[in-house]
């Protein structure tokens, strides 16, 4: 029952317009928490595009529950952090996000409703979460895993519209775009630097069809898993022989948290200590979380990849 109070608060905030926090600082820009007060009360009601269609948001949400770690990062990056009252147990970034025991994989509608949210943002919908929430009169916005970079940008913009931070969202997207384009321009696709991206210790990898695969392709890197992905989906299980024979210039480990992999552990695999990436130390441990989300931190990820690629090229040149 916080709606009357939140309308008053919004009105008061609208009266005391403060400058948008300077978001544009280069190095850790996407992670910044913007102290914006421009709530644009006239922008509501607004129609927002979610995964399952259009969602109408009648007034600026002040009690947002996020069950998607990516959405949490997006919300805080566009300045809607104060409107977020609860996030799921996997949303560990930014650290100030109000973590709870809510689960994004097995959502308990009652538990979510107990927070009395006016907007619930989620990524996966196992068993009609959306319709159950709508049935309780709670606005539900689904933004599932982005298949491309453009969709990831769009989701940020939609969240901006939904929370009354459209300007900050656009600014964030423009910054991300220009940074990523900048990184892509410095890349040299002709160098033919190859890489192996490891999802788990049984050699599951990703092809360039996947979101993360596309990011690598942007930087002109060659994915050894593309050979294997022809038949089916984007996540083939590679043969160890093939990895050894391909001798990739770079190895990216996305299984550092789940499976404890690192340069030391992979060097102990039979035959792996002879790989050039291992002997030259071009093994990049990625944060499992950053590598599996499609929020603002993909810029950090791309920067990390770009630096690794540059050093690999330098040492093989």
């Amino acid at each position: 029952m916080g709606k009357p109070v939140s309308i008053v608060v919004a009105f008061v905030l609208a009266l005391s317009i403060t400058a948008c926090g300077s978001y544009g600082a280069s190095d850790d820009a996407p992670a910044g928490n913007v102290a914006s007060r421009s709530s644009e009360p006239s922008s509501f009601p607004v129609a927002v595009e979610g995964t399952s269609g259009q969602v109408t948001i009648d007034e600026r949400p002040e009690r947002i529950v996020s069950l998607s770690p990516t959405a949490t990062e997006d919300l805080f990056a566009i300045g809607a952090g104060e409107q977020v009252i609860a996030v799921d147990d996997q949303s560990n970034f930014p650290p100030e996000a109000p973590a709870t025991e809510l689960s994004g994989f097995e959502p308990n509608v009652e538990a979510i409703a107990g927070f009395e949210p006016d907007l619930v943002v989620f990524a996966t919908d196992p068993g009609d979460l959306g319709s159950s929430l709508e049935g309780l009169g709670i606005t539900a916005l689904q933004l599932d895993a982005a298949p491309t970079l453009e969709v990831a940008y769009e989701q940020i913009e939609q969240l901006g519209l939904a929370t009354g931070h459209a300007d900050e969202a656009q600014a964030l997207v423009e910054d991300m775009r220009s940074e990523i384009e900048g990184l892509a321009n410095t890349a040299d696709p002709a160098s033919g630097t190859s890489f192996y991206y490891e999802l788990d210790d049984t050699f599951y990898s990703v092809t360039s069809k996947t979101f993360i695969g596309q990011l690598f392709a942007l930087l002109g890197l060659e994915n050894i898993a593309d050979e294997a992905g022809k038949g089916g989906g984007g996540y083939p299980q590679l043969s160890a022989e093939y990895i050894l024979a391909s001798d990739p210039d770079l190895i990216f480990l996305a299984d550092t948290k789940c499976c404890g992999q690192s340069l030391e552990t992979i060097a102990q695999r039979p035959g792996w200590d002879e790989l050039s990436a291992v002997t030259r130390g071009h093994v990049v441990p990625l944060d499992d979380d950053i590598a599996s989300r499609w929020g603002p931190r993909i810029v950090d990820l791309l920067r990390q990849i770009s630096e690794a690629a540059a050093s690999a090229e330098a040492s093989s040149a």
Binding site: F105, E106, D200, D201, T202, F203, Y204, E227, A228, G229, G231, G232, P236, Q237, L238, S239, A240, E241, Y242, L244, A245, D247, K257, C258, C259, G260, Q261, S262, T265, R269, P270, G271, E274
Partner: protein, 346 residues
């Protein structure tokens, strides 16, 4: 005083099958070494093989590495696993007098699955390569132990039905615990799932060292009692009256088969159907006497799995198909064929 013709025919059928089995095993091993996602010249492979691992001049060091550290141990493990599962299946079919008995009958699969899940969920994430096989091994033995303990306490271990039922009960319970654990820790789902499908993709010499002692011991035990399996197949009471200690034989077989199955499951995950297909196929060739069926199951089981594993890593190369998927594809139609054959015979 000439021996009856039937015995002559039986003996020669057995000898013929043995020759075929050995030849097939040799062929399978060679195919397993020659074929793979990475092309290595056949001549070089053969030269490498017959010179006991010396790298022939035409072969790069990396190719030699692939042969020595990846393909050879993988072929050996596939052979050991295939032999274990086939022999265990045959042995269980004998002591339980049930043509549908397979190595996972007494809760071995469920126990191993639970062990693997516990290792993935609660074990140190960096040591999974060690903890999962060991946990699976222990889990399999615990599962069988529970089933045997439960089933034996009723009817003094003379009834096979109670053992089988106990196995079903234990398997259901352990699977339920495993499912619960997986739900609690959903981040373990993918790893346990790939393990359950059966895989040899990460096999190395460590797995050979892990599996070899148990498998050799178990197979030797089963081989030693193979003639007694013929006796017990007739019936418990009949066997008892012939002087056979039925409960003790059953215990010995269960221990040996479980040891072999546990070792197989520990290094390769859950590979189904091998323990069923191979003994039945062998029986079609040489009849039901375990004197031949057991050793032949070992030979054909090993060859079968080596060949299937080669298929698993070449069909969608350079990607791999989990080996359990292929055996299921082969197993299902095989089952239907056996069923129809039995129905026509009945």
């Amino acid at each position: 005083m000439s021996r009856p013709d039937a015995a002559d025919r039986r003996v020669s059928a057995g000898t013929r099958a043995t020759v075929i089995g050995v030849a097939l095993l040799v062929v399978a091993v060679l195919v397993g070494l020659l074929v793979g996602p990475v092309r290595i010249g056949a001549a070089n492979v053969l030269r490498w093989f017959f010179s006991f691992g010396d790298r022939p001049p035409g072969m790069s060091e990396q190719r030699a590495l692939i042969l020595a550290d990846l393909r050879l141990p993988r072929v050996i493990v596939a052979g050991l696993v295939g032999a274990s599962l086939a022999a265990s299946g045959a042995a269980y079919q004998a002591v339980f007098r049930n043509p549908l008995a397979d190595p996972y009958l007494l809760g071995a699969a469920a126990g191993a699955g639970l062990g693997a899940t516990i290792a993935v969920a609660y074990g140190p994430s960096g040591a999974l390569e060690l903890t999962v096989p060991v946990a699976a091994f222990v889990g399999a033995l615990v599962g069988v132990g529970l089933a045997y303990g439960l089933g034996r306490s009723t009817l003094g271990g003379r009834s096979t039905t109670s053992l089988v039922l106990a196995g079903v009960a234990v398997a259901s319970f352990l699977t339920a615990v495993q499912t619960f654990l997986q739900q609690q820790r959903s981040e373990t789902l993918r790893q346990v799932y790939t393990w359950i499908l059966g895989r040899l993709g990460t096999t190395g010499w460590d797995d050979v060292r892990l599996a070899l002692p148990s498998v050799v011991l178990a197979l030797a035990t089963m081989w030693a009692v193979r003639r007694l399996l013929d006796v017990i197949e007739v019936g418990d009471v009949e066997a008892q009256s012939l002087g056979l200690h039925v409960a003790r034989l059953r215990l010995v077989v269960v221990i040996a088969a479980s040891l072999a199955t546990a070792a197989a499951v520990a290094v390769a995950g859950l590979i189904g159907f091998v323990g069923l297909i191979i003994p039945h196929t062998v029986r079609l060739m040489v009849g039901g006497s375990y004197r031949s069926v057991l050793p032949l199951s070992v030979l054909f089981g090993a060859s079968f799995l080596i060949l299937v594993d080669t298929l698993a890593r070449t069909v969608v190369a350079p990607a791999e198909i989990p080996i359990g998927v292929i055996t299921a594809f082969i197993g299902a139609p095989f089952f239907i064929a056996v069923l129809r054959r039995n129905r026509r015979a009945a």
